[in-house]
C-alpha cells in the first residue's frame, strides 16, 4: 500500500499548500518525506514559510503561526478524506483577530460536509455558531448544559 500512501501524501500536500496560502494570505508550505528512498518507513515533515519569511526551523514560528499552520494541515486532511464531524477545543486561543476571521471563514466553507463542535472563550468565534450551548455549575463540580438562543434570531433568552 506504498502506492496509496504516496498518492495520499501528494494530495494532502496540494491541499495544504492551497489552504496555507488562504489562511496566511500568501507564503509557501510543503509536506514531504524525510527520506525519499524509504517511503514505507520514513517520517513526514511539515514546512511552512509565512509570507516574506525565511523560516529554517519550524520551532521558531510564533505561537499564532504554529496554530494557523496546524489548522491548515488539519483541513487539508479533511479535504483529502472528509470526516463527518470535527471537535475543536480552544484552537483559537493564540490567534489574532485577522487570522481568526480567516480561519472562521474557511470553516464556514466546509461546514456543509463536516459537523463542527467548537469550544471557545472568544466572542468572534461565537458569532459563526448555528447553535450555542453554555455550561455552568450551579452546584459545585456538577455540569449543567443549557442551550442559548442566538441573538441574531432576535430573542436572546437562554432556554432552561
Amino acid at each position: 500500500s506504498r502506492q496509496r500512501f504516496l498518492s495520499a501524501m501528494a494530495e494532502v500536500n496540494t491541499y495544504f499548500k492551497e489552504l496555507f496560502v488562504t489562511l496566511f494570505k500568501g507564503g509557501t508550505a510543503d509536506v514531504r518525506l524525510l527520506d525519499e528512498n524509504d517511503p514505507l518507513e520514513s517520517g513526514v515533515e511539515v514546512l511552512a514559510q509565512p509570507p516574506g519569511k525565511k523560516v529554517g526551523n519550524m520551532g521558531l514560528l510564533s505561537g499564532g503561526e504554529k496554530s494557523l499552520t496546524s489548522l491548515a494541515f488539519l483541513f487539508a486532511l479533511f479535504r483529502y478524506k472528509p470526516t463527518p464531524f470535527c471537535i475543536l477545543d480552544e484552537v483559537d486561543a493564540a490567534l489574532d483577530e485577522a487570522n481568526l476571521i480567516r480561519f472562521l471563514d474557511l470553516m464556514k466553507t466546509i461546514k456543509s460536509d463536516t459537523q463542527f463542535i467548537i469550544i471557545t472563550h472568544n466572542y468572534r468565534t461565537m458569532e459563526v455558531a448555528d447553535y450555542i450551548y453554555g455550561t455552568t455549575m450551579e452546584e459545585p463540580n456538577v455540569t449543567r448544559v443549557f442551550s442559548m438562543k442566538m441573538e441574531k434570531k432576535a430573542e436572546a433568552e437562554p432556554v432552561a
Binding site: 500500500s1 498518492s7 495520499a8 501524501m9 509536506v31 524525510l34 520514513s42 517520517g43 513526514v44 515533515e45 511539515v46 511552512a48 519550524m58 514560528l61 504554529k66 496554530s67 499552520t69 496546524s70 489548522l71 494541515f73 488539519l74 486532511l77 483529502y80 470526516t83 463527518p84 464531524f85 470535527c86 471537535i87 475543536l88 477545543d89 480552544e90 484552537v91 486561543a93 493564540a94 464556514k108 461546514k111 459537523q115 463542527f116 463542535i117 467548537i118 469550544i119 471557545t120 468565534t125 461565537m126 459563526v128 455558531a129 448555528d130 447553535y131 450555542i132 450551548y133 453554555g134 455550561t135 455552568t136 455549575m137 452546584e139 463540580n141 456538577v142 455540569t143 449543567r144 448544559v145
Partner: protein, 158 residues
C-alpha cells in the same frame, strides 16, 4: 453521519443524567473555566475508545467516573451513549465502566468489543485515530511533533 445526541451519567462532572442534542452545522460550547466543556469532548472520545494522544488528564478508568463533591458521594459507574445519524440509519454507541475496572461497549444495544465498533465506524469514514479531535492546548504542538506522528496522521487518512 453526524453526532445527533450525547447522553452521559456518572462521567466526570455529570453525576445526573444529561442529554445534549447536536445538529449538523457549527455548534459552539461556551462557559466559565472548570465548568465541564472539555469533559464533554472527553466523553465523546471516551465512548469511541479513548484519547488519540496520551494526555495528562487522567488515563485510569476511575478518572472518568464522577469522584464526588462535598455534597455528593462518588459514583461507581460512568455511562455514556453517543448517537450518530445519517440519512439511512442511526448508530447508538455505549460505553460503561465501573470503579472495579470492568468496562463494556454496546452497539445498538448489543454488547460488542471495541474493535467491532471501530470497524463499524471505519465504514462510515470515522477514523479510529481520531485526528478529527483537537484537544485543548494540542493545536500548538503539532508543528513540532515527531515526523513519525505526522506520518501516522496521513496513513490514517489514506
Amino acid at each position: 453521519m453526524y453526532i445527533k445526541r450525547l447522553e452521559l451519567q456518572g462521567f466526570k462532572t455529570f453525576p445526573e443524567r444529561t442529554k445534549v442534542i447536536f445538529n449538523p452545522g457549527i455548534t459552539i460550547i461556551i462557559g466559565p473555566n472548570g465548568t465541564g466543556k472539555s469533559n464533554i469532548v472527553e466523553a465523546i472520545q471516551w465512548v469511541l475508545g479513548g484519547h488519540r494522544q496520551k494526555t495528562v488528564r487522567g488515563e485510569k478508568t476511575e478518572d472518568a467516573i464522577f469522584n464526588g463533591t462535598q455534597k455528593r458521594p462518588s459514583m461507581g459507574m460512568a455511562d455514556v451513549t453517543l448517537t450518530l445519524q445519517n440519512s439511512e440509519e442511526e448508530l447508538q454507541i455505549n460505553h460503561r465502566a465501573f470503579r472495579t475496572g470492568e468496562s463494556e461497549y454496546r452497539l445498538d444495544g448489543k454488547t460488542v468489543r471495541l474493535r467491532d465498533i471501530q470497524e463499524e465506524l471505519w465504514k462510515k469514514a470515522i477514523s479510529e485515530n481520531k485526528y478529527y479531535v483537537i484537544e485543548q492546548g494540542a493545536i500548538g504542538t503539532f508543528v513540532t511533533s515527531k515526523p513519525v506522528e505526522k506520518r501516522a496522521l496521513i496513513e490514517e487518512a489514506a
